[in-house]
């Protein structure tokens, strides 16, 4: 089996399947020996309530696909400058995780260290987030475009809230238009030879053969689950206890925030994700502590809504990841590689990682062992770091006297996270691992946000006198205020980027 890949079969549904098919198709579109991409589409599970909250990395995915941003707005999606967390440290507490750095370093020392000193010894009361361009922009309903000089000191960026059904329909239309072969069907069985898939049998009696099979079937993982060892799926339930999800829609908010709100409550959390035509709502909870009915009541109370069981979508989350998501000639991507609750907008990021490494390691002969090993190593390393980021929220909660939150605060956490938290607690330093999705500024945002105040800070901070430091802080705040004042409103950004008469979503 020493021939190049000529045909790839993607088996799955919804975002994972369509995005993967389109990206693979585009990757080889102009190649001398084009590769055939067949998509076997399983029945969709998308409901009109469904949405995707995605990280800034999704902009890269759009670029890879040559998509204009208008595809987001035309399908009623919205920009997301970050997430505001409410009540994670007890009622009426909040912090903002904006997609940006904080302040401006002095003498090559991170701003954070000066902020810690100011909070501890200089009577500063402002939270860290006040020193971020993106958070200020979010609070004022602005679109975070930076001047050249501000772009030197800030990483302000944004992700999206995508309106799942229309967004994926638009992607699907483009994929088919570009020559992805589309078959609707269901898998009946598959044949294997030496741990490789040799043939798929669909329920209509037809067969599909390919050189590489992409499992994009979500948590069902209908292909890879037939090839893997029994213990290949690693559950993260002990760290991320929520196993149920309710999704619904509320009327749009006015003015419409350009960020998500993540509100903790007794048995989980409720997220509000503004879209242009509605507010997508999700409640993530643990079935050990509550029933769906209780949660719907809770949601109605918190959001002053009157949702009924019939008007919401209920689903389960099987939190965890596959140790190997590439086995033989089968690659599990997106949610069939890992399933993670949408607390930190990572849902489509798993797909992004899958496609990034699959593209980088796309096989050129029949022997896939070397590629699979490296792919699995990279995916696992990325996923572990993402897991830790989510676990940190649960571990650091300060909701005392509620069984779910007490248990999670007292749980034993992975050592990698333990080390991160203790180094940060001791000296405000983020011990970055290889393959991190979230950068130092993201870690600092949530660790500080959840109430860790480092015991000490970098001693070199002392080289700046206190009066000079106060002046520096004032200058930063003025700088941020002036920059944000000059930014366009989110509204006008969306209008300008939707108006275009061109109907194509490709640039």
């Amino acid at each position: 089996m020493d021939k190049p890949i000529k045909k790839v079969a993607v088996v799955g549904r919804d975002a994972d399947a369509w995005l993967a098919a389109l990206i693979l198709r585009l990757s080889f579109l102009k190649a001398e020996n084009p590769i055939e991409i067949v998509l076997i589409e399983l029945p969709s599970k998308l409901h009109p309530h469904e949405f995707y909250s995605v990280l800034p990395s999704h902009q890269v995915l759009h670029k890879v696909m040559g998509l204009r941003e208008s595809v987001v707005f035309k399908t009623a999606g919205q920009c997301s400058l970050g997430q505001r967390f409410f009540n994670w440290s007890g009622e009426s507490t909040s912090f903002f995780h904006g997609y940006d750095t904080h302040g401006v370093p002095v003498n090559n020392i991170e701003f954070l260290h000066y902020w810690v000193k100011a909070r501890k010894h200089m009577q500063l009361e402002l939270p860290l987030e006040d020193f971020s361009f993106v958070v200020e922009a979010a609070k004022q309903g602005k679109f975070p475009s930076l001047s050249d000089s501000a772009a030197q000191v800030s990483n302000a960026t944004y992700g999206y809230h995508l309106n799942a059904l229309p967004y994926i329909s638009a992607i699907a239309k483009e994929a088919i238009g570009l020559g992805v072969v589309h078959k609707i069907g269901e898998l009946k069985s598959l044949d294997q030879i030496d741990g490789n898939i040799s043939c798929l049998h669909l329920s209509d009696g037809s067969q599909v053969q390919a050189d590489l099979y992409i499992d994009a079937s979500g948590e069902d993982a209908i292909l890879i689950s037939q090839l893997e060892a029994a213990d290949n799926f690693e559950s993260w339930g002990q760290w991320l206890p929520c196993d149920k999800k309710i999704t619904a829609s509320l009327p749009p908010l006015s003015p419409m925030p350009g960020f998500a709100q993540i509100v903790a409550f007794q048995q989980g959390w409720i997220g509000y994700f503004p879209l242009l035509n509605r507010t997508a709502l999700t409640a993530i909870y643990s079935s050990e502590y509550a029933t769906a009915e209780q949660i719907i009541n809770k949601v109605n109370k918190v959001s002053k809504a009157s949702l009924k069981a019939e008007s919401v979508v209920q689903s389960t989350i099987k939190t965890g990841a596959r140790k190997k998501s590439w086995i033989g000639n089968c690659v599990a991507i997106g949610e069939s590689a890992a399933s993670i609750e949408p607390l930190d907008a990572t849902q489509l990021h798993i797909l992004h990682l899958s496609m990034l490494f699959l593209r980088r390691l796309f096989p050129n002969s029949g022997d896939l062992k070397l590629e699979a090993d490296l792919y699995n190593e990279k995916m696992q390393s990325h996923l572990t770091n993402i897991r830790d980021f989510l676990v940190a929220h649960y571990k650091l909660n300060q909701r005392h006297g509620e069984p779910l939150w007490d248990a999670q605060r007292n749980m034993q956490i992975p050592q990698s996270l333990e080390e991160k938290i203790s180094l940060f607690s001791s000296r405000g330093m983020v011990a970055m691992c290889e393959d991190e999705t979230f950068l130092e500024e993201n870690w600092a945002s949530i660790l500080i946000g959840h109430g860790i105040m480092p015991e000490t800070y970098d001693p070199l901070v002392e080289k700046v006198s206190r009066p000079d430091q106060v002046k520096h802080f004032q200058k930063i705040l003025q700088y941020i205020a002036a920059e944000v004042a000059a930014m366009p409103s989110m509204q006008s950004h969306i209008e300008i980027n939707t108006e275009s008469s061109k109907s194509s979503i490709f640039s």
Partner: protein
């Protein structure tokens, strides 16, 4: 050191390249106002005095950390510019290839240039990738320039380079720099060490003349011996000799000869390899070998017979074991 107290007294042990680079960097970043910085070295023991060829990261250290003026540094250390390393006779006698600093080609569409090059090669292109790398082409024609930061679109890739310099002049130059910023230097041979009875931390050093030097943070730059990290703390050593068996070197400077080459040359020899490092005033040479295959005398003779210019000294012999300490602190 007592915990929860700021470090007030830093002692650097050793005055070779490592010691003076550390002293210079600390006096520049931490400064000597709130913290005393002292360096102890022994002229009698001396320094290795070889490390003369560097990598481009040295620029970050010189410019970004210390803020040195590059021209001054070049003048003070008799430095020359280095664009890469020529590996002669490694694949087979008569063959040579160049390892340039800087980028080869340009990645396109998220795909590494290497893959485009491989396709080009398979379609009949030559093995020599030099035409895709500015440093190699420049080295081949004995040229050098720095990246020009002219406004407007780039017409040339950035140029990556390092230096060849006289290691003892570099140490002396950094010594002047550090002493100006307040580092004090003590000449003397360390004979023993006092440790804190509770935690085993080093509390002071005792010199041969009986003087004790107290400190609360010690940095070991004593070279291969590691008098603190190894002799006090037994850090242990990962021995890499089974992969890198060379364990001796004969080193000798010779007169400059021919045009100045903007690169280091490493030539494979019967029992190791020979370096050629051109400085402004001389060429540094050394035969790195494994004593299992050739004697020190024979290696020194071979080296002397393979110089480009007249030897300026008798060959100096060095012994080492390749590897890394198990712990650095």
């Amino acid at each position: 050191m007592i915990m929860n107290q700021r470090i007030k007294n830093i002692i650097i042990v050793g005055g070779g390249t490592a010691g003076w680079m550390t002293a210079a960097a600390l006096s520049k970043t931490i400064g000597c106002r709130s913290c005393k910085i002292t360096l102890v070295e022994s002229e009698q023991i001396g320094t290795v005095g070889v490390g003369e060829a560097t990598l481009p990261l040295i620029n970050l250290f010189n410019k970004n950390v210390l803020g040195l003026d590059e021209n001054e540094f070049v003048r003070e250390t008799n430095a020359t510019f280095k664009l890469g390393i020529e590996f002669a006779d490694w694949r087979k006698v008569g063959h040579s290839y160049f390892h340039p600093f800087g980028h080869i080609g340009v990645d396109m569409d998220g795909i590494s240039f290497m893959h485009y090059w491989l396709r080009w090669y398979k379609a009949g292109g030559g093995l020599d990738f030099s035409r895709f790398n500015a440093e190699t082409e420049a080295a081949r024609s004995l040229k050098f320039m720095r990246t020009t930061n002219e406004p407007g679109p780039k017409v040339m890739p950035d140029i990556y380079y390092a230096f060849h310099f006289d290691a003892s002049l570099y140490a002396a130059y950094l010594r002047r720099y550090a002493e100006k910023l307040g580092v004090s230097r003590i000449e003397g041979m360390i004979e023993s060490v006092n440790q804190h009875p509770d935690n085993g931390y080093i509390s002071s050093l005792v010199l041969k003349n009986g003087e004790t030097i107290e400190g609360d943070f010690f940095i070991d730059c004593s070279g291969f011996k590691g008098i603190l990290i190894e002799q006090v703390y037994q850090a242990g050593y990962y021995d890499w000799s089974h992969w890198l068996p060379v364990n001796r070197a004969a080193a000798v400077p010779c007169e400059s000869a021919g045009e100045l080459l903007p690169f280091t040359r490493s030539t494979a020899r019967e029992s190791g390899w020979q370096w050629r490092i051109p400085l402004q005033h001389r060429i540094g040479n050394g035969y790195v070998f494994c004593d299992q295959y050739i004697s020190e005398d024979e290696a020194a003779d071979k080296l002397l017979s393979r110089l480009d210019g007249r030897a300026l000294d008798k060959p100096k012999s060095l012994r080492f074991v390749t590897g890394v300490r198990k712990k650095a602190g």
